[in-house]
């Protein structure tokens, strides 16, 4: 099966490419890139006036299967991802039951192969049952195909166990993906601690709940020589702590999410549960610092933290509603609108943060359009402005971005040489 993507502006940050090229795809691989490839009866996608990039990689997705298939499934989540230009997603292990064994890993891989339409790489638990007490069988899960370990929203509070996790994973060269939150400082909290939480009478989560754990985990990384990736950072000081660590050559990488450079805790006003996320939305000064961290490279990756929840669960009292927003389908337009258009970074550098950078953190042989690479490709139109409606492919609709006018759309997504989404379908 052959496919030619014709006449697009190819942006491939890993190779420093930014020019008009045709791409020939054959047997799921990129076989040729040239300024003009003659047609020979292949299927053609006309990419004139469009941008062609490596397919996006989301290193922080919640697929909810097994356990909460009413919120999302591997089938629906991969379709939602494809709608957003993603060809690879890494699913967090906080399912029911949690992915803390080889059985869980294999379930995801098999289901993704049968029902999914893009690449799915599982993340395994750090500890059994995500309880923070005993290490899960990380080696066996690694053999089965995990790309990292994380206890997700239940951070390992015991520093000794975290130390062992960082030491143990050195053998496998997989990162520990850390959700940094001191559970004692954040206990009962539902939004950022600040003026808004004071006015709304909601229990706040201080920024230090994140920052103290970012510091701890970096110290433990220095101690062990392990590989840490800090998930969804949100505060000015988190950016600064990681910046310093990188200067000291500690092996740390990090991500943020579109909600943390797009929204402040003002979005919670009126007890808007779609803006209830963990870590919580912070303040304008944090947004500024996050953007600076993105611009200067302190923040390596942008991830979605796609966290689907049903309408019924979100239509509760603010304290009772679960944390999380979906994000796969709004990711690129938010990056385009709030980062590229605002000159925080170039389109090429923005693409790097959702392609080659996460691939490098996770050790995936993906995220580029080099000759011979997997034909995982996104075709983008950066220009059209449209209003976000609730019409998502995801089974869940919990998004604080509904109603926003955003720029840029995904025209087609190609995973392993196969067109998995074109013109919204």
């Amino acid at each position: 099966m052959k496919l030619i993507i014709k006449g697009g502006r190819v942006i491939d940050p890993a190779n420093g490419t930014d020019k008009k090229l045709d791409i020939l795809v054959e047997n799921g691989k990129v076989v040729k890139k040239s300024s003009n490839i003659d047609l020979n009866g292949e299927k053609v996608i006309d990419a004139a006036n469009l941008i062609v990039t490596p397919g996006f990689i989301d290193m922080h997705t919640h697929l909810r299967e097994p356990g909460r298939e009413d919120k999302e499934t591997i089938a629906s989540g991969t379709r939602s991802a494809a709608r957003g230009g993603f060809t690879t997603i890494c699913c967090m292990p906080n399912t029911q039951p949690p992915v803390d064994s080889i059985a869980g890993v294999k379930f995801i891989l098999v289901t993704a192969a049968q029902e999914g339409i893009i690449n799915v790489f599982p993340v395994g638990c750090i500890t059994k049952g995500r309880e923070g007490k005993e290490l899960a069988e990380i080696g066996k899960m690694n053999n089965a195909g995990i790309v990292g370990i994380s206890d997700d929203g239940s951070p390992v509070m015991n520093a000794q166990i975290m130390r062992h996790a960082l030491e143990y994973t050195k053998m496998f060269d997989i990162p520990v993906l850390a959700h940094c939150e001191d559970l004692n400082l954040s206990a009962g909290g539902v939004m950022n601690e600040g003026f808004m939480s004071t006015v709304l009478g909601l229990k706040g989560i201080p920024r230090q709940a994140e920052e103290t754990m970012v510091s701890r985990d970096i110290e433990l990384t220095e101690l062990t020589g392990g590989k840490i990736h800090i998930q969804h950072i949100t505060t000015l000081n988190s950016v600064e702590i990681i910046r310093q660590a990188k200067r000291k050559k500690i092996k740390v990488s990090c991500e943020t999410c579109p909600q943390y450079f797009s929204l402040s805790d003002e979005a919670v006003r009126g007890y808007n549960t779609s803006a209830k996320v963990n870590p919580p939305l912070r303040t304008d000064k944090d947004i500024k610092a996050i953007k600076k961290g993105i611009a200067d490279g302190t923040i390596d990756c942008i991830a979605s933290d796609h966290a689907p929840h049903t309408d019924v669960e979100k239509a509760q009292e603010f304290d009772a509603a679960p944390f999380g927003t979906i994000g796969l389908e709004t990711m690129f337009p938010l990056i385009m609108t709030n980062l590229v258009d605002k000159k925080v970074l170039t389109l090429s550098r923005a693409i790097a943060k959702i392609t080659i950078n996460p691939a490098r953190v996770l050790g995936l042989n993906k995220g580029t359009l080099s000759k011979g690479a997997d034909a995982d490709i996104a075709i983008i139109n950066p220009k059209p402005v449209s209003t976000v409606t609730g019409d998502f492919v995801s089974l869940s609709k919990n998004s604080p971005f509904i109603g926003m006018k955003l720029k840029g759309s995904i025209v087609a997504t190609i995973a392993g040489g196969k067109v998995v989404m074109q013109d919204g379908r």
Binding site: G194, T198, Q316, D319
Partner: protein, 311 residues
């Protein structure tokens, strides 16, 4: 002049003029109480549902009397907190009340924003009778009515709110209301119970009531919850009493005209001494009387909106 919203969710959302209107409208209702027949007809045929998710005697009784004195029918629904967990959602309860054609829903709930959620769900006028640590607007209004009655005007008064500011919906409603009416507001309490950002609401933070007592016109004393010691917010009720308990000794340098207020129920001997609670400066029982009149005023003013409901 009328109220802009169909609901009363908090004093944050009312203008100075609206607060003025509510307080002015309260006067004739209070005058009714000295008559042998205390009932007037404005809400005849209307249904007021009093939906309480937290235990309360005084606020519930006050709303019920206020509604009955306006000739409305009342329906009391108590939901124990244990049945919230397995019971129906607030939105479903709201839809049920709507199907019963309620005109008003008075809601007390342990979670901030519950009244907002209900107000978005139902056509009925929703009155917030306390939502978590957020607001308790009718308490704020009755406190202000009591102050205005005693001093003639709220503008220029110096009012201290003493106690657990962090968790207090009474404090927040008083702060919004008093600032809008031109009073100067102090908050006094243990530093663990005064949120750092409260100063941005235009209040002055103080950790020692004695330092400012000479300037004050009103001391509004909040109930202190014993459970806060479990959270290590302060060590013991005894220590709280020693430092923040309002006693005669504490009031030594105060103005003669100082008013002592408390939203109740009181912990005598903890946040307030019995002598102070029963002294001539105390208007605590008058607050209770005024509470009914203020709630009549609110039901009456929102009644105009309720009559526009198109079921």
């Amino acid at each position: 002049m009328e109220l802009k919203s169909k609901d009363l969710l908090g004093l944050e959302y009312l203008s100075r003029k609206e607060i003025q209107l509510i307080l002015d409208t309260t006067i004739p209702f209070k005058n009714l109480f000295t008559r042998s027949v205390k009932k007037v007809p404005p809400l005849r045929g209307k249904t007021v549902v009093i939906l309480f998710y937290e235990p309360s005697t005084r606020t519930r009784a006050s709303f019920e009397l206020a509604a009955k004195r306006l000739n409305a029918d009342t329906l009391n629904i108590t939901v124990s907190s244990s049945s919230v967990v397995k019971g129906e959602s607030l939105i479903d309860t709201g839809k049920t009340l709507e199907a019963m054609k309620a005109d008003f829903v008075v809601i007390r709930h342990g979670m901030a924003g519950a009244a907002h959620l209900l107000a978005r769900t139902v056509k009925a006028s929703v009155i917030n009778a306390g939502d978590g640590s957020h607001e308790h607007p009718t308490q704020g209004l009755l406190d202000m009515f009591t102050m205005r009655e005693k001093f003639g005007s709220i503008s220029g008064l110096k009012v201290a709110i003493v106690g657990d500011i962090l968790h207090s919906r009474v404090a927040r409603s008083n702060i919004w209301g008093l600032n809008k009416m031109g009073a100067k507001v102090y908050v006094v309490g243990p530093s663990t119970l005064i949120p750092k950002f409260i100063e941005d609401l235009n209040v002055t933070v103080c950790y020692n009531l004695k330092e400012i007592i000479g300037e004050l016109d009103v001391v509004n004393i909040l109930r202190i919850q014993k459970e806060r010691t479990v959270e290590s917010l302060f060590p013991s009720l005894h220590e709280y009493h020693k430092i923040f308990g309002v006693t005669e000794e504490m009031l030594g340098k105060s103005k003669k005209s100082l008013l002592i207020m408390h939203p109740g129920p009181m912990n005598r001997g903890i946040e307030i001494s019995s002598v102070v609670a029963d002294s001539e400066r105390s208007v605590i029982t008058e607050q209770v009387t005024n509470g009914i009149a203020v709630r009549m005023s609110i039901l009456y003013l929102l009644g105009g909106k309720a009559s526009e409901i198109n079921y």
